[in-house]
């Protein structure tokens, strides 16, 4: 089943940009587990609650991956804000991940 993790923006912030992402994983396979852990660590550190992440398990929902044009997992799609981007692999390359999410390295917001 696809897990949805939605974080509501903080009440005090009036103008916020929420980063919307979808991560495709293969069950509890090692790279998939690492990818989830790496992504959540980055999100907690850089985005606080300004993100929405949906995790799709391709073992259970292969048709979703095919429909979205995803051929390998783990695979992260940043859906908004524009421009969209993709990162393949276990997301251990933090700089690459930050660049794909449009976050300058070392920028703690």
């Amino acid at each position: 089943m696809a897990r949805k993790r939605a974080k509501a923006p903080a009440a005090r912030e009036t103008v916020t940009t929420v980063v919307v992402m979808r991560l495709y994983v293969a069950g509890k396979a090692p790279n998939s587990v690492k990818a989830i852990a790496n992504l959540e660590a980055i999100c907690r550190r850089y985005l606080k609650d300004r993100y929405k992440l949906e995790i799709v398990d391709v073992c259970e929902h292969p048709q979703r991956a095919l429909a979205d044009g995803v051929f390998v997992t783990p695979s992260l799609s940043k859906l908004s804000p524009a421009p969209t981007s993709n990162v393949i692999g276990n997301l251990s390359d933090t700089d690459n991940l930050l660049a794909a999410l449009g976050l300058p390295a070392g920028d703690l917001q």
Partner: protein, 443 residues
């Protein structure tokens, strides 16, 4: 799915190479290829079959995880088994297997490959009611109607009487629901609890007995001096739904004074069919036949509502009975009231419709349990009323439609007692009036 790739035979190596070539053709773009070559990919999508195909490393890791999970199950002290959607046992842990060996198939000790529901159906006469309740709970979990089913039950194995606590949890994935059954032997804990209740000292024991015993009205009618005389022989016990206290023809070893539990007296016909002929709660005792000079039970005494009771060894009870005229009078009064109930029930079972009888039975249960909510299955009620299950279901539905009761997940709740009294047959009121008259005349 691909076959296992880790083996080293030349054909496997060839297959491995062919698979990698296939993936390289499939992946698009440098990033995907780079991640694949760097070992950061778990699965690729096969556009032809529409399935996700795990890479050899991911497969091996997941198999390792599966083994680890099985080992972890074995390390648990409690008994665990996993059932598929048909109730077949597909995984058991070490503690479960040890139980199966120790109890020789009794007490729902089901082997891997056997079916748990069938084991419930084939349970012995003494465990029949409890096994039926477990089967009903399991059916509900597997049908997705219930997330967790929990019950206590007692089993009689060659090793003696054991008390268990059983949990059944549904695992709902996209496919059919599976179930995890966990069981804990609580005999020791119950024994410790009972000894804690009874206390180590005589004074503590008597205080505990007084506390638990005064809720039994038969004991409460005794003068303080008589009651104190009995205290030394009374022992608080916890009785569990479905537990059988006596079978017809078996010797009566203890008499029971219910505090907040409920006991059904059933007459067994043709060796297997049973019909309830009497209901005993806090107003009376079970085993009063001893006082009439018989040492064996004529009925099956079945615990129908879990709760506490005081019990006394038969020999001690007979001594006390012969010694105390007050106890004799109290017992005769109760036996008379029970006779009124039994004779009225006999006529009621013959002449009144199921719906009226069900309403009467629910009211009688409520009066004795002092609760408007009780755990019951339709099968159990069918046994109590001597009708087929469909008869109970339609009668219960009729009462539910009139908003007199609520029925959900094996729990019946009386919503409107007055209206239920109106829906019951005249036997309910009649027994109450006759018992009241009898009590007034003898008092």
């Amino acid at each position: 799915m691909r076959p296992e790739p880790a083996a080293l035979s030349p054909s496997d190596i060839q297959a491995e190479a062919a698979f990698k070539d296939w993936v390289r053709r499939l992946v698009r773009g440098a990033a995907e290829l780079q991640a694949f070559e760097g070992g950061q990919i778990d699965a690729v999508m096969d556009p032809e079959s529409g399935n996700a195909i795990l890479l050899p490393e991911a497969q091996a890791a997941l198999q390792g995880t599966s083994r680890l999970v099985l080992n972890a199950l074995d390390a648990l002290p409690g008994e665990v088994c996993v059932l598929d959607s048909t109730g077949a046992v597909i995984i058991t842990n070490r503690a479960w297997r040890a139980f199966v060996v120790a109890h020789a198939g009794a007490g729902l000790g089901v082997r891997e490959g056997a079916n748990f529901l069938e084991a419930c159906r084939d349970a012995g006469a003494r465990e029949h009611v409890q096994a039926e309740a477990v089967a009903t709970g399991l059916h509900q979990v597997l049908a997705g109607g219930l997330e967790l089913f929990r019950c206590d039950y007692v089993c009689y194995s060659p090793g003696g009487r054991c008390a268990f606590s059983l949990n059944i949890v549904g695992i709902a994935r996209d496919g059919p629901v599976h179930a995890v059954v966990t069981r804990e032997n609580v005999s020791e804990r119950k024994r410790v609890d009972a000894s804690r209740i009874s206390g180590r000292t005589k004074a503590g024991r008597i205080a505990a007995v007084m506390q638990a015993g005064t809720t039994n009205r038969l004991l409460a009618t005794l003068p303080a001096k008589e009651y104190e005389q009995l205290l030394g022989g009374l022992e608080p016990v916890q009785l569990t739904y479905g537990e059988v206290l006596y079978e017809p023809g078996e010797p009566i070893r203890h008499v029971y004074f219910p505090s907040d539990c409920l006991i059904s007296l059933l007459t067994v016909v043709d060796g297997h069919r049973a019909l309830e002929v009497g209901l005993v709660g806090r107003e009376g005792m079970v085993g009063s036949r001893l006082a009439m000079g018989s040492t064996n039970s004529s009925v099956r005494a079945l615990v129908q509502g879990t709760g506490r009771a005081m019990r006394m060894k038969s020999t001690r009870f007979l001594r006390e009975f012969q010694r105390s005229p007050t106890l004799q009078r109290a017992l005769f009064r109760f036996t008379d009231a029970l006779m009124i109930q039994v004779t009225q029930t006999a006529a009621c079972n013959r002449f009144h419709v199921v719906e009226e009888r069900l309403a009467r039975w629910l009211l009688m249960t409520r009066d004795r349990m002092l609760s408007s909510e009780f755990h019951l299955t339709h099968e159990f009620l069918a046994d109590m009323l001597g009708v087929r299950r469909v008869g109970v279901t339609s009668a219960a539905s009729a009462l539910r439609r009139q908003k007199l009761i609520r029925y959900a997940r094996g729990v019946i709740t009386i919503l409107d007692q007055r209206a239920l009294e109106a829906a019951a047959c005249s036997c309910y009121q009649r027994v109450q009036v006759m018992q009241l008259e009898a009590a007034t005349h003898t008092a």
